[in-house]
């Protein structure tokens, strides 16, 4: 459920959330709120991450063995669940990234062609 007062943001494409999570975790382990923040900030607040959708995604990635999780203490002294990339996750990230780049490039070319 998006809220009205948020300025218009891009909704995430199906399946891209997983990729973004993996990408975020490449800099080290992070908890869910941190991941959400990072995605939003790195995208210059362009991307909307519904925080509620994040957790089932984390759950999914964990089940696939791409990330692992353990409870720890956050920078502001809160108990939080920290996620980190596994070896399989790192590999998956590589695959997904190149796939995504090819896709983006292809779509870009098509849009350019029509626009020209």
């Amino acid at each position: 459920m998006s809220t009205r007062e948020d300025r218009e943001r891009l909704e995430l494409l199906q399946g891209t959330l997983d990729l973004l999570i993996l990408r975020t975790l490449i800099f080290g382990s992070q908890h869910g709120q941190g991941i959400a923040r990072t995605i939003q900030q790195t995208s210059n607040e362009e991307l909307l991450v519904e925080h509620g959708a994040l957790y089932p995604a984390l759950q999914r990635l964990e089940e696939r063995g791409w990330i692992s999780a353990k409870w720890g203490i956050s920078s502001n002294n809160r108990k939080a669940r920290f996620y980190s990339l596994t070896v399989a996750g790192r590999k998956q990230l590589g695959k997904e990234t190149s796939k995504w780049k090819r896709l983006a490039a292809a779509i870009g070319r098509i849009l350019e062609a029509q626009g020209g």
């Binding site: 908890h31 709120q33 923040r37 925080h51 509620g52 959708a53 957790y55 502001n76 939080a80 669940r81």
Partner: protein, 872 residues
């Protein structure tokens, strides 16, 4: 690793920590505590849904859901006990009836016979196709049996048997044991061995060697008190000493469930080449790999060779190889399948009815469902919930239905004992229970899916905003109307079936049997044994016993006969008429025959049309005399006076004495009320010397109720010979009634189904009209306010009901035409498209529909326009 799952509280903690961190961050940006908290929640989205989604991802979730759904369903159902009871009860009736009928179908048509590899067992018959006689399943002659069993290469074993009862005299009352005379291969063909001792050796299947006996388990446990030393014991049957050599395992019987003992058939060398008399039952076991078709082909080749060898006896005689199961089940198969069809239709009607009830309730629950969807319940989940409810109801119906089936099987066993083979095996075996479960689940899905899919289609917004008016009303009324049309159509078909059976039964009741069963008592006494080996000794016994019977008070006349009518037993003979050109092979005139004492016709009240009755003075010393029936006169002396004409038994070359026709009697329905009379020759007992002419059945004409003298019959017989058992004491009415047991069972079951179908259709029509009237209150009020007469309103409602009924009847008409065609073999004297039945049933359904319309119509008539317009 799937079972090391995070639990829900861990997940909740994580979300909580997220919300706190987000709140803190927002506070740092300058929001108040409350605003920050709210914003964090907003950004998070639907917390519950996130938790839900997490929860749903767990593997064992469906189990939890099932439990939840079940609890919820139970709560819903116990909240509306009336609805639940109605649905469960109607379902139970349908499922119970279907289960009982399927149990019969399974036991009789599908279940393997209780012998090892029973599907390799076949009956082998003579297939006789002659101008004078046709029978696809004629019992083979001993000569044919002997030749077949030696010459064939498709059977691993072939055996013969013929039923035989034995008189047992001992301490106390004499009794008769039913048994079989069997050839040596009998038990090895069945692949059943004795439980105790042994079965017969081939050496014992020869004359002079054959006084050995294998007894059944029941006889061993009963008469012999499970004596472990029973082997070697001597037992006197028909004055002969037999030695018991074996006891069969419990539950073994073949061919007849009543059989208690088996003795060697021991065909004499003469008998082994007798191709003329046909009295054996022959069965065989196919060699591994051999097919029925192969066996059939080879046996027909063999039969052709035998025809060349014995043209007199074997012309027109081919072979029919019939799987044993088919042989046993064949006669009742069509009726059973039609009954299964009928009960299936009833079950469908019930499903339609329950679906209609569900729809009615769905109207009420529509908002509840919409609210739950709005609160975030997944649609699949809602669907599951509704299906859980309907399946739960179906399963409850199944349990109760199986219970009903259990009880009705008891009734069915009694009802079907005489006409349904293997009736004693009827039970709720696991395949039957599986069937019952399967149809219950199918029914649950059928009547559960319609309201569930309605809920799924429904628009949440509409349902929530439409206030008190229910939505989807029109479509639901349409669906319910459709269901009612379907119910009426199916009901019509079942009632037509019942109607045809009623008409047919009335027809049978009116068939003139040719004798008068009222006031007639019958019983069985068979004089066998040493002292009755000569015909003169037997004749003397008949004469004396009849004298004693006549002396009983209330007895008008008494006589004995080989077999009374309506018991399906009759011998046949070929004969040669004096002065006619000799018949070629296979052209020999044939007729059934009975041997009788004097006064048989008088006792039975069979009219003597011409000539005289037999008397005790018709003896071996006097001129051979016969009496023939009308059919025989019509066939062989159509334009002549038959009295004084002569014929002799068998073919022209056989040297038999000429017999003179001394009388003509009216035709009697010998086999069953539905089988036309055939030519019959009656022989006087004293002149018929063969042992197969022993008189078995006795008839006594009484002044009043024949039951009254039943108790004095045995002592009358025993005053002549105290060693002869007296059995099967019944009134002739009972015999007649028993010969119609099959028809009666069909009629009763069909009547039951038809009644059920009619009631259900009535309820269906009533329900839809009541619903529609309640929806049209306002419209009716306006009509009345604008000056419509109340009779107009009445007509309005009735017309609506009639339209549904009319469409149903029309559809049912087409359905019936297809269905009743399958009933052709079950009905007698009435066509399967009998216009009278169709008209009467249509009228009945119309009357029932009008009755169903009446109450809603009256309610509509009484609508107060003011009230109706104020409504809402």
């Amino acid at each position: 690793m799937f079972w090391r799952k995070r639990n829900t509280s861990d997940f909740r903690d994580e979300i909580e920590s997220h919300l706190q961190m987000e709140t803190e961050r927002l506070r740092e940006q300058g929001l108040t505590e409350d605003d920050a908290r709210a914003a964090a929640r907003r950004a998070f989205g639907n917390v519950t849904q996130a938790q839900e989604r997490f929860y749903e991802s767990r593997r064992w979730l469906w189990c939890d859901h099932l439990w939840q759904d079940l609890r919820f369903a139970l709560r819903m159902l116990s909240n509306s006990p009336g609805f639940t009871a109605t649905v469960v009860l109607t379902l139970a009736f349908g499922i119970g009836a279907s289960t009982a009928i399927f149990s019969a179908v399974y036991t009789v048509l599908l279940k393997a016979l209780p012998y090892p590899q029973a599907n390799r067992l076949v009956m082998v018959y003579e297939n006789v196709q002659l101008p004078t006689y046709q029978n696809r399943r004629n019992t083979p002659s001993p000569g044919n049996f002997s030749d077949w069993s030696v010459q064939n290469t498709v059977f691993e074993n072939m055996a013969a048997y013929t039923s035989r009862s034995f008189n047992v005299a001992g301490n106390g009352e004499p009794m008769r044991l039913e048994g079989e005379l069997v050839s040596a291969g009998f038990f090895s063909t069945l692949r059943v061995n004795a439980n105790l001792g042994r079965v017969f050796s081939p050496e014992e299947d020869r004359p002079g060697n054959s006084r050995v006996l294998v007894i059944g388990d029941a006889l061993w446990r009963g008469t012999f008190a499970s004596d472990p030393h029973v082997l070697g014991k001597k037992i006197f049957l028909d004055d002969q000493t037999y030695v018991i050599v074996g006891v069969m395992p419990p539950g073994f019987h073949f061919p007849d469930p009543d059989d208690q003992l088996w003795a060697p058939l021991a065909l004499s060398p003469d008998e082994r080449i007798n191709h003329g008399s046909h009295y054996l039952n022959v069965f065989a076991r196919l060699k591994p790999g051999a097919t029925i078709a192969q066996a059939q082909t080879q046996m027909n080749l063999l039969a052709r060779r035998l025809t060349e060898l014995y043209p007199d006896s074997n012309t027109g005689v081919a072979v029919a190889v019939v799987p044993l199961l088919e042989d046993i089940a064949g006669p009742v198969r069509p009726a059973l399948l039609v009954l299964l069809g009928a009960v299936g239709l009833v079950l469908l009607i019930i499903c339609a009815n329950v679906a209609s009830l569900f729809l009615a309730r769905a109207s009420a629950r529509y908002r509840e469902i919409a609210v739950r969807v709005a609160l975030g319940a997944g649609r699949g989940r809602m669907m599951r919930q509704l299906l859980t409810e309907s399946l739960l109801l179906a399963l409850l119906g199944c349990v109760l239905g199986v219970l009903l089936a259990h009880w009705s099987l008891g009734a069915l066993k009694i009802l079907a004992a005489t006409n349904l083979p293997r009736a004693e095996e009827l039970s709720l075996s696991s395949p039957v229970l599986l069937f019952s479960l399967a149809i219950s689940l199918a029914a649950g899905v059928i009547f559960g899916i319609s309201p569930a899919s309605g809920a799924n289609r429904g628009n949440v917004q509409d349902a929530l905003t439409s206030g008190s008016r229910e939505s989807g009303v029109a479509s639901r009324l349409r669906t319910r109307s459709l269901l009612v049309v379907l119910e009426t159509a199916l009901g019509f078909v079942v009632v037509i079936g019942a109607g045809l059976l009623v008409r047919s039964f009335l027809h049978i009741e009116q068939v003139r049997l040719g004798f008068q069963p009222e006031g007639l008592l019958t019983f069985r006494v068979i004089p066998r044994g040493e002292k009755y080996s000569q015909i003169s000794e037997r004749t003397l016994f008949y004469e004396q016993a009849i004298e004693k019977l006549r002396a009983l008070s209330g007895v008008k006349a008494a006589a004995a006969v080989t077999f009374i009518p309506l018991t399906l037993a009759k011998g046949r003979k070929g004969f040669t008429i004096e002065g006619r050109p000799p018949s070629g092979p296979g052209q020999l005139p044939m007729a059934g025959y009975e041997v009788v004492t004097p006064e048989y016709f008088q006792t039975m009240r069979i009219p003597l049309l011409e000539g005289r009755d037999f008397s005790w003075s018709d003896s071996p010393e006097t001129q051979p005399a016969v009496i023939i029936n009308e059919s025989m006169v019509k066939r062989y002396w159509p334009a002549e006076n038959p009295l004084g004409k002569r014929f002799h038994q068998a073919g022209p070359d056989d040297k038999f004495p000429w017999m003179t026709i001394v009388g003509v009697v009216a035709d009697v329905r010998e086999f069953s009320p539905t089988v036309e009379a055939e030519p019959v020759i009656y022989f006087p007992t004293a002149q018929f010397t063969y042992t197969n002419g022993i008189l078995r059945d006795w008839v006594v004409r009484t002044n009043g109720d024949p039951e009254r003298i039943a108790s004095s019959v045995p002592s009358a017989i025993w005053s002549v010979d105290k060693n002869l058992p007296v059995t099967r004491i019944r009134t002739m009415e009972e015999v007649r009634s028993m010969s119609l047991a099959g028809q009666r069972m069909n009629l009763l079951l069909f009547g039951l189904f038809a009644g059920l179908a009619l009631v259900l259709a009535t309820i269906g029509i009533y329900g839809v009209l009541a619903y529609s009237v309640s929806l049209r209150m306002r419209e009716i009020g306006i009509r009345l306010a604008l000056g419509a007469r109340r009779t107009n309103v009445l007509r309005l409602v009735i017309t609506q009901g009639m339209r549904l009924a009319a469409v149903g009847i029309l559809l049912g008409l087409f359905g019936s035409l297809a269905f009743t065609r399958l009933m052709a073999g079950m009905i007698y004297g009435v066509s399967s498209t009998d216009p009278l039945t169709f008209l009467a049933v249509a009228a009945l359904v119309v009357v029932v529909a009008v009755a169903a319309c009446y109450i809603p119509a009256r309610r509509a008539m009484r609508v107060d326009p003011v009230e109706a317009l104020r409504y809402e």
